[in-house]
Amino acid sequence: MTRYGFREALGAFFHADTNTLRRWLPAGLSPLEAQPGHALIAVTAFDFTESEVGAYGELVISVLVPPFATRGSPLPHAATFPVVLATTTASSRAHASERWLLPEHERCLDIEFRRDGQQRSVHVHDRGELVLTLSVKRSAGVPSDRLYQVFSARDGQLHRVNLHILGDLDEHQDETGRLQLYAHPITSRIESALLDDRPIVEQSIESGEQQFSDLVSHKWEQS
């Protein structure tokens, strides 16, 4: 078990074009659709305070995919395939790539969390230039422990890892959040798929922890 403590996390799900997302996924995975042609992108940011590689900020952009369900094992709450992972430190980027085989953005970004009343936002900069801002509304949270599944691919092999995220969670569908994208290689990719910049789900977690199990090779035959 690998643990990462975080002060705050923000997340939001957006409708995105299924066909575009399908091209981002390796063989064997397909996008999870909310409506016909409308798959889901998750944009999440973590403000980690404790980890094997110290404190750092993280931005993850993922495609939601159907979870792998097996009899006798807990059913994941959701499953994702990260297509962008950017952090604020070189050691955390290398760690994510080596340990979890996750994609590694070429350089460090600045990830700043802000609070304004109920509004929570994250502002991501690259060498002083804005990359994106994500804002969500937070009301009272509840203690939560959810199991997620994260897929990754390297050298033609699919891998998956179970991930518990614990913390004080507020999740809603009030359509009050907003994603603003600025010119950048990361955002041009999202922009090509995004169908609406208003999130259909908003999440805010405070005082939380990620608990990773061991990475396993995904044995399911790739089609």
């Binding site: 409506q35 016909p36 042609g37 369900a69 059913l75 709450h77 959810r146 169908l195 609406d196």
Partner: protein, 415 residues
């Protein structure tokens, strides 16, 4: 799922799309979830009632009748004596079933007459009957559009509209609920042939589509327009033609959709419009082609229900008076009814597991209502859906509103 105790962490959406080694593995997860979810409140769904859906229903054979605010029997026609007698006459004359698809042996003169009467009522050239509202939507949409076309639909549109798009393999673009700026953006971003689909009354919120604005945008962008009047036909407009009549846009709508299960109190659906459109849908709506035609006694009853709806405008008047009574009574109790302006009135609770004990308390106190939660509505927007009928007694509605207010106060939903 680890144990059935975890059921609150999951909802129906979590079991629908999974992968795995065995197709049936997810059934175990679903079953274990049900072990917790059913006693937790999901047993309130698929719960039988022991009487006809009148304003007062018995939940068990021997129990006392309680106020029914859950059935969408808007004009109280399903149990009208004349309707039952007409159904009995059709049963005696034609038997129970049509015994065939309408395209083969199943089309009875009864069906033809009723389709003509629907068209006459709606003021369209033709109408086509379907076995259900769901089959009408999936059949019509999959017949009218294909993979190279666009459907531009309201984000809150009914599941049958989404499923119709899935069946048609069409390009679907969703605009924000009742947001005309969003609709305009979607229209501008959809080159080629397009069909806009909106509902008249939205079934979970009770608000209505701004049809005059929708029509104007469709004309501007050369889009065809389909209006789903499942909850507005036979109750809205001066003669009950629906929201299209309310807005005076009957002739600007290309595809009129409606159900026969709500205001007319039977079952089935219809699509009405130009003869050429209806003939085309008749040929390609597979949900109609490959289904048995509507049961004759149902059609017999529906014909009488339509006659009553046309000759008794006082039913609609009574319905709207009852809606005004209930709205006023609920607002006086401090209940949040969202943006509803129709006979569908949401009672906003916004507590996805806390709504179940309130439902049980309401039933014990004498009010039957169904909890509605994700995925039927958004998370944390759980609610009860009140359906008002012309047959309700205004005094009983006032008492019902008081009971609802008391139950919500006891649960801490309102002060």
């Amino acid at each position: 799922m680890n144990t059935s105790e975890d059921w609150r962490n999951y909802d129906l959406s979590h079991f629908r799309s999974t992968t795995g080694e065995d197709l049936f593995d997810v059934h175990d997860h679903f079953d274990r979830w049900g072990e917790g979810a059913r006693p937790g409140g999901y047993d309130l769904y698929l719960k039988s009632i022991a009487s006809s859906p009148t304003p007062r229903v018995r939940m068990q054979q021997e129990s006392q009748p309680i106020l029914n605010l859950a059935s969408y029997n808007y004009l109280g026609l399903s149990y009208r004596k004349e309707v039952i007698e007409a159904a009995q006459r059709a049963l005696a004359e034609y038997g129970l079933g049509a015994a065939g698809s309408p395209h083969l042996s199943g089309l009875l003169n009864l069906h033809e007459s009723f389709a003509e009467e629907i068209a006459d009522f709606k003021g369209t050239e033709a109408a086509l009957l379907f076995p259900s509202g769901y089959s009408a939507n999936i059949g019509a949409i999959s017949a009218l559009v294909g993979p190279s076309d666009w459907v531009i639909a309201d984000m809150n549109a009914h599941a049958s509209i989404m499923d119709g798009c899935l069946l048609a393999q069409t390009k679907l673009s969703l605009f924000r609920h009742n947001d005309m700026v969003s609709l305009q953006k979607r229209l501008a971003g959809a080159p080629g042939r397009k069909l806009v689909i909106v509902e008249g009354v939205y079934s979970m919120d009770g608000d209505i589509a701004p049809l005059d604005e929708v029509v104007a945008l469709c004309k501007r962008y050369g889009a065809r327009l389909m209006v789903d009047e499942a909850h507005s036909a036979f109750v809205y407009g001066e003669t009950g033609k629906g929201l299209v009549e309310h807005f005076g846009v009957e002739k600007d709508v290309d595809v009129h959709f409606g159900t026969l299960s709500k205001s007319l109190g039977g079952m089935g659906g219809y699509v009405a419009g130009s003869k050429t459109m209806v003939d085309y849908v008749r040929a390609y709506a597979r949900s109609q082609v490959f289904s048995c035609a509507l049961s004759p006694p149902v059609v017999g009853g529906l014909r009488e229900a339509l006659r009553i709806a046309r000759r008794e405008p006082q039913l609609r008047q009574r319905l709207w008076e009852n809606v005004a009574v209930m709205r006023e009574a609920l607002l006086a109790e401090g209940v949040d009814i969202g943006d509803s302006i129709s006979q569908v009135i949401p009672i906003m609770v916004r507590d996805d597991s806390g709504i179940f004990p309130i439902a049980r308390a309401l039933e014990l106190a004498g009010v039957y209502l169904n909890p509605i939660l994700f995925p039927a509505v958004k998370r944390k927007q759980s609610r009860f859906r009140v359906s008002i009928s012309a047959a309700h007694d205004p005094a009983e509605l006032r008492v019902g509103a008081q009971i609802i207010g008391q139950a919500l106060r006891a649960a801490g939903v309102i002060r």
